[in-house]
């Protein structure tokens, strides 16, 4: 990495920073939406154990886990207009990240749920907890607490997948780095700078999730 490259990237730091902010924004919004949708899928899965709804959701989750994110993103971006929905790149990107990862979140929650001791649930229903109350008070708290580290890893996956949005012209971090690279021909400095920023973002998420895991353990 030459001093010249570093100087150019530093001079273009505004562009880099805008890319970083867009990436962080997209990841944060997509992660929250994915978690919400993932929880809905998980609750439906638990409530209709073995029923047709549960089977349909399990099938959807298994299918999504076999689809590359980039292909899914293309399908959303080019496919939705056929259904009469026109989305710009940013919205299509957030939407596809959210829906795609909701299935992964639901699978992680399901995994944590199968590890849960059955006695607690049985004791709960013996004490008159049923349906939504049982799920809210006895299923969700331990399932979310146990799944936290895995959910954190999936957020890191969302950060990495967000770079795919360059293909639908979302101005995220890799897009910024590529613009600087193409304009000033400093590929080394610009992409290494982008990678360092992704790394910082992931480390921040890791730290945050670590703190949440400790809080959850103390609270238990």
């Amino acid at each position: 990495m030459t001093a010249h490259g570093l100087a150019v990237v530093w001079a273009e730091r505004g562009m880099m920073l805008r890319g970083l902010v867009t990436t962080a924004e997209i990841v944060a919004i997509a992660a929250v939406l994915a978690l919400a949708l993932g929880l809905v899928l998980f609750v439906l899965l638990v409530r209709s154990q073995g029923g047709p709804v549960a089977r349909a959701i399990a099938w959807l989750i298994d299918l999504m886990r076999c689809v590359p994110f980039m292909l899914f993103c293309y399908l959303v971006y080019y496919g939705l207009p056929y259904c009469g929905v026109l989305l710009d790149g940013w919205t299509a990107g957030v939407f596809s990240l959210a829906v795609y990862n909701a299935c992964y979140f639901a699978e992680l929650l399901r995994g944590a749920w199968t590890q849960l001791p059955r006695e607690e649930i049985e004791a709960g229903s013996a004490f008159g907890f049923h349906g939504w109350r049982l799920i809210r008070h006895l299923v969700l708290p331990p399932v979310i607490a146990n799944a936290l580290p895995m959910l954190g890893n999936q957020v890191i996956q969302i950060i990495k997948d967000s770079a795919f949005l360059i293909i639908i012209a979302v101005h995220e971090l890799t897009f910024s780095a590529n613009e600087i690279q193409a304009t000033f021909y400093v590929p080394f400095a610009s992409f290494v700078a982008a990678i360092l920023l992704y790394w910082l973002l992931c480390l921040a998420v890791e730290r945050g999730v670590g703190a949440m895991v400790r809080t959850a353990e103390a609270w238990r």
Binding site: Y78, Y198, W199
Partner: protein, 213 residues
């Protein structure tokens, strides 16, 4: 979409499998080597490997492939798009292989190593006779899972012009103005390919079990 388009999708699928397979071929042994360096805490290398693996695990494949393809020529090393694609996927996968092996080695039951030590085995003997025959069984399901992640991330290499399956589908859509059908055909390749590997992973998990807690 005609027969020629289906043929180009098939070629794209072959390229997807080719880059993924070659990447694993490089990633598996190097990842194991890096894990052993970290496990044995070989001093000057250990922190370097730890930092490299941490950074690689946080790096999107799209960004990495752009770096490899555009930046290496500036230091006098020009790779073809295909070679850059293999190198990128191998680098990313290598970091995960390292973490998988390191996890297995760190979780290895200490009693067994103590017992081997009590029998007077050297470090090398302990590794060859006690650790290695068991560790690969524990690692196998995770390693197979990493293969599915690798295939799922492989469309990233299309940004430098490698015509793998997803890019082949994009190109057909661009000429026929009907982008969805080729994407669905691509999907019909990815899903059974990845689903098949997932099924293999479940089978291995049942046969060899998971890590002893």
């Amino acid at each position: 979409m005609g027969g020629a388009d289906l043929w180009s999708l098939a070629q794209g699928a072959a390229t997807t499998l080719g880059v993924s397979f070659l990447a694993i071929l490089f990633a598996a042994p190097v990842g194991l080597g890096l894990a052993l360096i970290r496990w044995a805490k070989i001093r000057p290398l250990d922190p370097v490997v730890a930092t490299l693996v941490s950074a690689l695990r946080a790096t999107p494949a799209v960004t990495l492939v752009l770096l490899v393809y555009f930046a290496l020529p500036t230091v006098g090393l020009s790779l073809s798009p295909f070679a850059a694609a293999v190198a990128t996927l191998a680098l990313g996968s290598m970091a995960f292989h390292c973490e998988i092996w390191r996890g297995v080695l760190l979780a290895f039951p200490a009693e067994q190593l103590d017992a081997a030590r009590a029998f007077g085995m050297t470090g090398r003997q302990r590794f060859r006779r006690i650790v290695a025959p068991q560790a690969w069984r524990f690692a196998l399901p995770a390693l197979v899972n990493e293969m599915t992640l690798l295939i799922k991330v492989s469309p990233a290499v299309s940004v430098i012009g490698v015509v793998e399956l997803t890019r082949a589908a994009v190109r057909i859509g661009a000429t026929t103005y009907a982008p969805v059908p080729p994407f669905l055909i691509a999907l019909a390749f990815y899903v059974p390919a990845i689903g098949g590997i997932v099924a293999l992973q479940r089978l291995l998990e049942r046969r060899y079990g998971t890590l002893p807690a």
